[in-house]
Subunit: 390 residues, 2 copies
């Protein structure tokens, strides 16, 4: 059977080059980078080389990169690191209403410590209006966190405009760039962000590694307290193989970005046009242009996203409904609700995320199989039958 | 040149069997375990199988294991998870004065939140007197954290007696078992602990993975907030290959424990006797009997541990001075100070930690080279020359 994997936002296979680069660091160069002897120091240098590569991908300096165990940990470190370090300056955090759970729940965690969290609304495309941010900032605001691109609807937020507003107001700006890094150009200086999270899982590095960019010497309270690793900002023996994998994947992501963007945009546009043409009553969610290239998301009327996923799996197509971290926990996506999708329609969410290895034939295969699956599910749907006979 | 690695407490090479078990999960079975489709669920089952193996090694139930990114993260989760969850019950934490930095600094973190931390003293062997714990517990005590075995001096604490006192007083007991798991039998029921941290790095699993045992349905505030992974107790896409490596290493550790203990104890005893016989003015630190089998630690008068490490490296011997996480940060070990070592003597700390693969010839080699290195360094030491001529 054909196998078409279009759930790359949930996880990508580790790239061959990344795995090859990692392999010597499991059983051969396994020493602890914190030891004083030469082999420890050599491994510390290897880590710093990866720091350069990851920094290079986003226009940062190596000393501004902290390696973490995931994008989620990077988000936790950004929010908690700033909030704990600045809690005497103020107790107000602003996030968007479509943030990843790791940002949302990190911010919410501070509500129990007399913080207030403001959730900025988004328009029907999922876009934040910079004007609404200006209005939400108060004297006690210490941090704004708005994602670069949304993983469920693909929309790219105007982070340069948003960070400029924060700068004017002396407020730190963090962006969760897990869904954008490796898919569109990300430059911490052009965008002016103070903190930025990225993840290995989404760029062909292994699971278990991510990174936080933090500008210059920004003070951060660690989330993981302990030893002197990562300059005292993140304790725990460094995941050396994971970090090497992330470095390699970041290097490749930078080299391939422009070709990849064009390739994915073309595939995605074909997929979107084909779905809209072949399936009645389908909504293309997120912004039509301001979105990451390989991302196509829809709400399909009168069916359950989960049922559709299962049906597609039976013909070898792997897609998602909502975000991976939430997909088992939530029946209705808060992101889709935030962009004004009626709850019934939001049930029929499906998200395709493409990668470099995907080809035109993958899209053709989906365009052949998806309408059949939708048709089949709709035939079983009382809502759809009622509509059809109305 | 001979290569004798005796710094296994800092890091162990990943075991061949563990790496082999991990390999398919990088690029082949790479799907996100949180996705709804079958391949995600299969990977979730694989994670649960590893949970069984890790639980099996310490006599726990699989549902009582949370996978983390390191032993340090497990320690953070134990201390912070309990302290945040129980802060309305009380604001007093007791730890020993020889805890790992990740326990020490996690506890200290709460001092800024109106908690008080009591540091229990240890005797000259590094042992906690259970009576001192009884006396230190107050009505507002919510958590006691005392390590199972100390990584710098090898001493094994009487955790069953300590946890029994906690139980009597309705206080939770956590133990950092990073240095003991895989080296001596560890059973959460026999020892009666409520929480226990372990690490992959010290048992031949890869860096980047650890685990926290927590009894039954103990309430824990996550340290990493976000999605639904690990039953909502630890967010972030699961490090599947790392977890598989930990599972395999745990399984093997259990099978080999009794043979390994005998083997290491024999090697260690030969090493210790040889060093004491061949080198004048050397103190064997830690408890002579109540210590982990492969652990030999000394303070050698009139020299610098770091200089000795470098000199040993030049003949292919790798050892440590103090603990890896602190070795670059600290000139004098707080552990050695806590057991009453004079600061001058504490400078001459050296720690050998053996593993299964070490052989009698490794010990012979150290016994041949170490006295020469010590002699050479002492010849350069004004303190030693003054002594010699006195």
């Amino acid at each position: 059977m054909e196998r078409v994997y279009l759930d790359n936002a949930s996880a990508t296979p580790v790239r061959k080059e990344a795995l090859e680069a990692m392999l010597p660091y499991f059983s051969e160069h396994y020493e602890n980078p914190s030891t004083v002897y030469d082999m420890g120091s050599k491994i510390k240098s290897v880590i710093d080389e990866q720091r350069e590569k990851v920094a290079g991908l986003i226009g940062a300096r190596p000393g501004e990169i902290i390696f973490t165990s995931s994008g989620a940990e990077a988000n936790n470190l950004a929010i908690k690191g700033v909030a704990f370090a600045r809690q005497k300056k103020g107790n107000h955090i602003i996030i968007s209403s479509i943030e990843h759970h790791s940002v949302l729940n990190s911010a919410r965690f501070f509500e129990r410590m007399d913080f207030e969290v403001t959730f900025l609304p988004v328009d029907k495309y999922g876009l934040i209006d910079p004007e609404s941010l200006s209005q939400a900032i108060r004297p006690e605001t210490i941090l704004v966190s708005i994602m670069h691109a949304n993983n469920e609807i693909g929309t790219i937020e105007p982070i340069a405009a948003l960070s400029a507003i924060c700068k004017e107001n002396g407020v730190l700006f963090h962006t969760d760039a897990v869904a954008s890094v490796g898919n569109i150009p990300v430059d911490v200086n052009e965008s002016g962000v103070d903190l930025l999270s990225l993840s290995g899982v989404s760029i062909g590095a292994p699971k278990g590694v991510g990174a936080l960019y933090f500008r210059d010497n920004l003070r951060l309270m660690p989330v993981l307290h302990g030893g002197i690793q990562e300059n005292g900002r993140r304790a725990g023996t460094e995941n050396v193989p994971g970090i090497v994998g992330l470095g390699k994947a970041a290097e490749l992501a930078g080299q391939e970005l422009s070709v990849k963007q064009t390739h994915l945009k073309h595939l995605r546009d074909t997929l979107v046009a084909g779905i809209i043409e072949r399936i009645p009553q389908v909504i293309y969610t997120g912004h039509p242009e301001k979105r990451i290239p390989g991302h196509a998301s829809f709400c399909i009327e009168a069916l359950e996203g989960e049922a559709l996923i299962f049906m597609l799996t039976s013909v070898g197509i792997y897609a998602n409904t909502g975000s991976a971290c939430a997909s088992k926990a939530l029946k209705t996506s808060p992101v889709l609700i935030a962009i004004g999708t009626p709850p019934d329609l939001a049930q029929g969410s499906i998200v395709f995320t493409l990668e470099k290895s995907n080809q035109a034939k993958d899209v053709e295969y989906v365009l052949e199989k998806l309408p059949l699956a939708v048709e089949k599910l709709r035939q079983m749907s009382p809502i759809w039958r009622r509509k059809a006979t109305a």
